[in-house]
């Protein structure tokens, strides 16, 4: 459940905040979000990655279908990528890694904070 929650919250965060903030600010907020939700490391990595990756890919597909612009095609040609499908994929993959590492860092940070009670009550 927490996995889906973080995925959805990440995607929402990107959709709402990213228009006003650069990607690195989104990464910081995403780390905080992941720390707050509290997934395990692996879950956070994939949930954060999927959330941001899907959001970025979704946004790029959305913009391109609504505008009907040939720019994605032109950019792919310029970058030597063949067709624009590759460009959607690359945008998604880049979003995935940015989201995944941010969420992972957030999740591991939460673990650090949790350490104190562990030391008091555990061994």
């Amino acid at each position: 459940m927490k996995f889906i929650l973080l995925t959805v919250l990440t995607a929402l965060l990107v959709l709402i905040v990213n228009p006003f903030l650069p990607y690195w600010a989104v990464m910081i907020l995403l780390a905080i979000l992941a720390a707050a939700v509290g997934n395990k490391a692996g879950g956070a990595f994939f949930a954060g990655g999927l959330g941001m990756g899907l959001a970025w890919m979704g946004q790029s597909v959305y913009i391109s279908s609504v505008t009907g612009s040939q720019l994605p095609e032109k950019m792919s040609e310029l970058m030597g990528l063949g067709d624009e499908i590759t460009l959607f994929a690359i945008t998604g993959v880049l979003g995935f890694f940015l989201g995944a590492f941010s969420a992972l860092a957030g999740s591991l940070f939460r673990k650090l904070l949790k350490r104190k009670p562990d030391n008091i009550y555990g061994r």
């Binding site: 990607y23 720019l71 950019m75």
Partner: protein, 804 residues
């Protein structure tokens, strides 16, 4: 352990975030580019989707209304001039910011800042020609002589800057994102610089080539092959025009010693071939409606974003519409409610080279008469992306900058030449356009033109009063016959320009009896004009076609004039081909391919329409023949120019067995027929190759007209293989990379009616649907309705914005 894994992941995350924010070689930073909210994806959105009802523009005295028609042409309604030009700056920047900045970076010799060390030599060349130096002089001149225009230039700059200051990453033009830099502030200086850049684009000289030719051929042969005034020239100002002024005296020195070295160095980059223009006006006596009609189509390099940007600029005092140059104030070629005007390039040799003899290696002084005169040093600091700045010292003499010297262009011999060019003298071209925009009659037009120095232009004019006029305006040096054709000795004061032709003695005509005025980059006047006029690049074909059509046409309509702008008649072919076929004889009638091609050529009507096949055959055959004829000249190690096509055809007709056709280093005596046959054989070989590799050789498919993005490497932002006719030397001058960059036809009746088109679109954004949407119409010879709009006109409005 937890600390370690956290720190490792944190470090990895930060490293990733940094990695995607930086460029790798030529690859731009990935995240800012691909981020769908800020990166290039945002540039997919066209302007109509981003329409704003209101925008903040500070320092306006009243609100300004901007109404866009369905082609995204803004119509700006302001209450005074300062508001108008502030808004023009803002709106132009909104659609064309990258282009206007890129062009001025090029003009300032600052491309290295954007692309790195590979542009250093280009930047040095630009600076050594003194473009920025000229713009600084221009600034001083305007500040002192015309503070009013200066304020308007500053208002425009402020408008651009207010746009830049509020610009979000999302709206940043995509070229900045790819090349990874950001716009800097605009200034009045940059507007002036842009106009100097136009001069650089349009003005050339062939002093180096002519100096070499004189050495190779001698004076007699030079005058024969490169006649300054060949038979059949039709000047701009009608033949027989009476010059009602007393010319200033020009004294020719008794003895002229030219520097006599043959120079094996690359000449200064020249305006590209195919750069030229047509303009004309017909008086009411020749039109169906009885109203004058004016037409203008400047031919320049075909680029995207288009060089031109259309606008209507309206205040309660005046209302003007037409083509603007992004970065310059007002309309450059257009019309208001009283007059219309247009420009073509008035090439004339206004750039001369003087040999400088330095006193010693320090280059602090040079010989002038029997004295030593001091030089000044100008240090050019060229900033280079990713490297430290390059410092270049340029020596200035009283003539101008020493362009090539021991530090620049290593191949050249040990000679130093100073460039004298009127672009280095203070002038105020901007004033001309500001005044023309609100001009009401022929007197206003003349007053406006008095401010224009360079690049010299043929200004065509028509007014609702019924006047038509043409004036060749520039600041032309007074020269004795032959002066400035060759390199001159800078130590000899007798070689100096002896002043300038006064404005009122520049060639002009008003309401000539033939009922039309016209220009197409040909000789300005007949030989009775009392001043020496010379240029290598006068055109021989478009003007004669144009004039013969205008002479025979009557009851002219706007559609006729549009048709004439799109006229594909290949006069050069019509004059050369029959002679070539004659000289070829019947030798090739048994070769199947040759027979096929000859049949096409023989039945050709001489129109270079896109679907015709014969123009390709002629074009190839001619080029091969031409290079055969002059191959000894062009094979010379020193740079030269070749005789014109026109002169070459005259020789082929008048003296086909003449000595001009003989190649000296062969034992045989060649004639024109030998070259024509050799050209034909080579054409057959080329055609065979073409037909195997490409198949179809119809004209449009062969010439492959391309409208190229300003960064040629951005190929997908260009539009290639536009299906359209015409070519160099044809009224529809659309060749592979040059052509009508703007077509305008205006009828000056009680209601002024106007039509215009250019090969591009209003938006500079390659992702916008308004980026290249005019190209198809332009290629078909169609026009957009360019009538002026009023504020309350409802139909055809895309959206409107209030600036406040």
């Amino acid at each position: 352990m937890k600390y370690v894994s956290f720190l490792v992941v944190l470090a990895l995350t930060i490293a990733l975030a940094i990695a995607v924010s930086r460029p790798f070689g030529a690859v731009p930073p990935l995240a800012p580019l691909l981020d769908p909210n800020h990166g290039f994806w945002q540039n997919s959105i066209s302007e109509d989707r981003l329409a704003e009802d209101e925008l903040v523009l500070n320092k306006l005295s009243n609100e300004v209304k901007v109404i866009y028609d369905e082609n995204l042409i803004p119509h700006i309604f302001a209450t005074d001039q300062a508001d108008l030009y502030r808004a023009q700056g803002y709106i132009t920047a909104k659609h064309r910011l990258w282009q206007m900045e890129f062009q001025t970076m090029a003009a300032a010799g600052r491309i290295s800042e954007i692309v790195g060390p590979l542009a250093i030599e280009l930047d040095r060349m630009t600076r050594r020609k003194g473009l920025a130096y000229g713009a600084e002089k221009g600034m001083e001149f305007i500040r002192e002589n015309d503070p009013e225009s200066y304020l308007l230039l500053e208002a425009y700059a402020d408008g651009v800057n207010q746009y830049i200051d509020q610009l979000s990453d999302a709206r940043l033009p995509v070229e900045y994102k790819i090349l990874n830099y950001r716009p800097e502030h605009w200034s009045a200086f940059k507007s002036i610089l842009l106009l100097k850049y136009m001069t650089d684009m349009l003005v050339g000289d062939r002093d180096l080539e002519y100096s070499n030719l004189r050495k190779i051929l001698g004076d007699v042969m030079l005058d024969k092959l490169y006649s300054e005034y060949p038979d059949g020239v039709e000047p701009i100002i009608e033949c027989g025009h009476k010059w009602d002024f007393k010319p200033l005296p020009v004294t020719r020195p008794d003895s002229i010693a030219y520097p006599d070295d043959q120079l094996v160095v690359a000449p200064l980059p020249q305006p590209e071939e195919g750069t030229g223009s047509n303009n004309w006006a017909v008086s009411g006596s020749k039109t169906k409606s009885g109203n004058p009609i004016l037409a203008n189509d400047p031919h320049l390099s075909l680029n995207l974003p288009s060089l031109w940007y259309s606008m209507q600029l309206t205040t309660p005092q005046h209302s003007v519409k037409g083509a603007t140059l992004p970065g310059a104030l007002g309309v450059i070629s257009g019309f208001n409610n009283h007059i219309a005007w247009g420009v073509t390039n008035a090439t004339r040799d206004t750039r001369d080279w003087y040999k400088i003899t330095f006193q010693d290696k320090s280059r602090k002084a040079y010989r002038y008469a029997d004295k030593w005169r001091q030089t000044t040093f100008r240090i050019e600091e060229i900033k280079v992306k990713g490297e430290k700045a390059f410092l270049d010292t340029v020596v200035y003499t009283h003539y101008g900058p020493v362009v090539y010297d021991k530090t620049f262009n290593s191949k050249r011999q040990d000679v130093n030449f100073a460039l004298k060019w009127n672009v280095h003298e203070g002038s105020n071209e901007q004033k001309t356009f500001l005044l023309l925009n609100s001009a009401k009659d022929h007197d206003d037009y003349n007053l406006a033109l008095d401010n224009f120095t360079a690049p010299a232009q043929n200004f065509v004019f028509a007014s609702r009063d019924g006047d038509i006029a043409m004036r060749i305006q520039g600041k032309f040096p007074l020269k004795w016959r032959g002066q400035g054709k060759f390199f001159m000795d800078g130590a000899d004061p007798g070689m100096e320009w002896q002043g300038y032709i006064p404005n009122e003695q520049n060639a002009s005509t008003l309401n000539p009896s033939r009922g039309f005025v016209s220009s197409a980059n040909q000789h300005p006047t007949d030989s009775t004009y009392p001043y020496y006029v010379f240029d290598n690049s006068y055109e021989f074909y478009r003007n004669r076609r144009l004039n013969s059509r205008l002479r025979e046409m009557n009851s002219i309509t706007v559609e006729d004039m549009q048709g004439l702008q799109f006229d594909d008649y290949y006069l050069h072919a019509a004059e050369a081909l029959p002679t070539m076929l004659d000289l070829l004889g019947s030798e090739y009638e048994n070769d199947a391919d040759a027979k096929k091609y000859l049949a096409l050529l023989k039945e050709w009507d001489f129109y270079a329409d896109p679907n015709q096949k014969a123009p390709t055959l002629f074009y190839l055959w001619w080029r091969k023949t031409y290079s055969q004829i002059w191959k000894e000249l062009s094979g010379n190690p020193a740079p030269v120019v070749l005789p014109s096509y026109y002169q070459t055809v005259l020789f082929m007709k008048d003296e086909p067995s003449g000595a001009v056709f003989d190649l000296k280093n062969t034992p045989e005596m060649e004639t024109a027929a030998v070259h024509v046959k050799q050209g034909f054989i080579e054409m057959l070989a080329d055609m065979k190759k073409w037909e195997t590799e490409e198949g179809d050789f119809s004209w449009a498919n062969y010439k492959k007209t391309t409208i190229q993005h300003l960064v040629p490497q951005f190929k997908s932002f260009s539009v290639e293989n536009v299906y359209t006719g015409g070519g160099s030397g044809i009224l529809n001058a659309t060749s592979a990379r040059h052509g009508a960059s703007w077509r305008m036809v205006v009828e000056l009746g009680t209601e002024v009616k106007a039509y215009g088109i250019y090969p591009g679109g209003q938006s500079g954004n390659p992702g916008s649907k308004y980026y290249s949407n005019f190209i198809q119409k332009w290629a078909n010879g169609e026009y957009l309705d360019f009538n002026q709009r009023t504020q309350d006109q409802k139909e055809g409005v895309l959206f409107q914005t209030i600036l406040n």
